[in-house]
Symmetry: C2
Subunit: 352 residues, 2 copies
């Protein structure tokens, strides 16, 4: 195929980038949140030989390898760098641990304004601390086959604040929400520092080869519309404005702010699995680029059922659509189900 | 006040019942989900003298005492029986434990159709197993001051199934959702048994003096609209239809099914704190009775702020409204904040 020899033409063939630019394509692009990880036997084999999750994240060659695994195994249209949203709190000075069967844990948390003032958000410091992510991105970019897009990512300020205050996962994150209500000024200072660090981090990711940036707000659904307006959206806006490549924003659970998210300076919005495509289209319009939103539990189903549900979803969004799940793929998802999902998207034709 | 001497007139003065019947009242009624519990010093004192949570739930005299505590201390317009939604799985044959700092835990879970077939849903068995709840309700009813309404409650079938399969709390309840997708028939059998037991349970609660029944679907927000349509709503409908007193249904996180919930045979709907009153009114209409929906985190705020936010919410719903939080009150909420919330609702006047 001669076109692969000419770099600028090669870029034009990247179906995810085409879709993010609003161009018409024959089929929707497809990838899965958390595609690099436990669903793949290759990942499990590598992971079992290592001391822990962080060794994988912080060793560029290994991170690059698991980033590329799903592209090789599943044929998805994009690779997303293998990392964690909690690298930002750590770079700011609050180290995290990943505890087996439990999730993230911070030995120290933010309890006062003093703790926040001590955090280091200087661009040089952040770039330096997170060089391992840039190094991994460079490796992936150099190895990624033509037509595949490299996605960088990070967590939105509210979600990172939530972990930094709470210190671990929580059903309600009530300690973090209490902080927003009782320590408004300190909360803003913390959100500013996270925002500043994230802007630096995304610039470094783009310099290292990330072609798309996805910003995840995992705990957006825990805030009231009022608190999200005040503590969530303004910082998200600042970050998205600063990124020079196409951006995708995923505010998990923020159904209540779909109108506001529509006006964010991003190129696409991630959509939860419990939002109806018809309602999304009604609010965003037919041309707005959306990503999602099959129920991750659907991939537990029979192959023919998965194919049918994937096609129905593609039809319901009716174009300008990046096929994905409505949340990260669950670790125990059968690989055949994941493959059926990818195949259903890639064999779909908008022209039939 | 002579009217308190005449029982039928006494009933007419119950502001929660008046509101649930669609009658006009001078102010909205108010109570809080989880009002009986750790927010009250009286509760903490009693609890610390006991062996565990279940001793409290299963000892009618103690359960009655903590049920009445918030009425005495906060002056709320209703008492809700102190119990747990997991008494139904236990009555069916699957005992639960309440583990400190962790939450509910099932030593045995449902793993197959055989496990489900073994469950005992016969009405006599269920009434017998849950006699302690009826006994507690009778005690509360006999002690409750005039004007206060007694609420009984239970968990919706999907939420109970989720715990019975998963065995404990979970961020995704993916094991339970996997069961719905892969074991559809067995899932329906389990939901039927839970439904049957819950119908018996609610009849017993009403016989024992419950004047309102609230059905909680804590994990509704984890299902896709399709799965909720199939595994959630039909069973909820059956249960609500069977209850002879006014009912409130609270499908937490089920924003995506507001239209469907509108058509359920209940008298009121509970509303999450992240749903906007304007959107709720748009979908349900101005006369539909709603309950909620202040952000529980608001009660961490300053007194004047709590009063202001409570009044704004009352105005936003504009009548036909039971003031409550959008979720259970958090255990570390300052008592003064809770009192300000109750006072703001009770001093509000629809006639000004």
């Amino acid at each position: 195929m001669y076109i692969f020899a000419i770099p600028y033409l090669r870029n034009m063939k990247k179906i995810l980038l085409q879709t993010l630019k609003g161009e018409k394509t024959d089929r929707p692009p497809v990838w899965l949140m958390r595609q690099a990880g436990r669903i793949l036997p290759q990942y499990r084999a590598l992971r079992s030989s290592l001391s822990g999750f962080k060794e994988l994240v912080e060793t560029p060659d290994l991170a690059a390898e698991v980033t590329i695994q799903p592209v090789d195994e599943l044929g998805v249209d994009a690779a997303i760098i293998f990392s964690d949203i909690l690298v930002i709190p750590e770079a700011l000075g609050l180290p995290y641990e990943m505890i087996k069967g439990k999730g993230p844990y911070f030995p120290r948390t933010i309890t006062s304004r003093k703790d926040i003032e001590r955090l280091q958000a200087h661009p040089d410091h952040i770039s330096d601390q997170l060089r391992y992510v840039s190094d991994a991105l460079k490796l992936v970019r150099s190895r990624l086959e033509p037509g595949k897009t490299l996605i960088g990512f990070g967590g939105a300020p509210w979600t990172l604040l939530a972990y930094m205050i709470e210190g671990e996962g929580s059903k309600t994150f009530s300690k973090a929400r209490r902080f927003l209500v009782q320590e408004e000024q300190a909360a803003h200072l913390l959100l500013e520092k996270i925002t500043k660090a994230t802007i630096t981090y995304f610039q470094a990711q783009v310099s290292a080869g990330a072609e798309v940036i996805q910003l995840f707000d995992s705990w957006a659904g825990l805030l009231s519309p009022q608190l999200y307006q005040k503590f969530g959206l303004p910082y998200i806006k600042q970050i998205l404005e600063s990124v020079d490549v196409p951006t995708i924003f995923f505010g998990k659970g923020a159904f209540y702010a779909l109108e506001e998210m529509k006006n964010l300076p991003c190129d696409a919005l991630g959509i939860d699995w419990n939002m109806r495509p018809s309602v999304v289209r009604q609010t965003l319009g037919g041309e707005y680029i959306v990503q999602g939103n099959l129920d991750p539990a659907s991939l537990y189903g029979r192959i023919d059922q998965i194919e049918k549900e994937t096609r129905s979803m593609i039809e319901a969004f009716g174009g300008h659509h990046i096929v994905n799940l409505g949340h990260g793929v669950y670790p125990d998802t059968p690989l055949d189900g994941v493959k059926a999902f990818v195949r259903a998207a890639q064999s779909y034709s908008y022209n039939r």
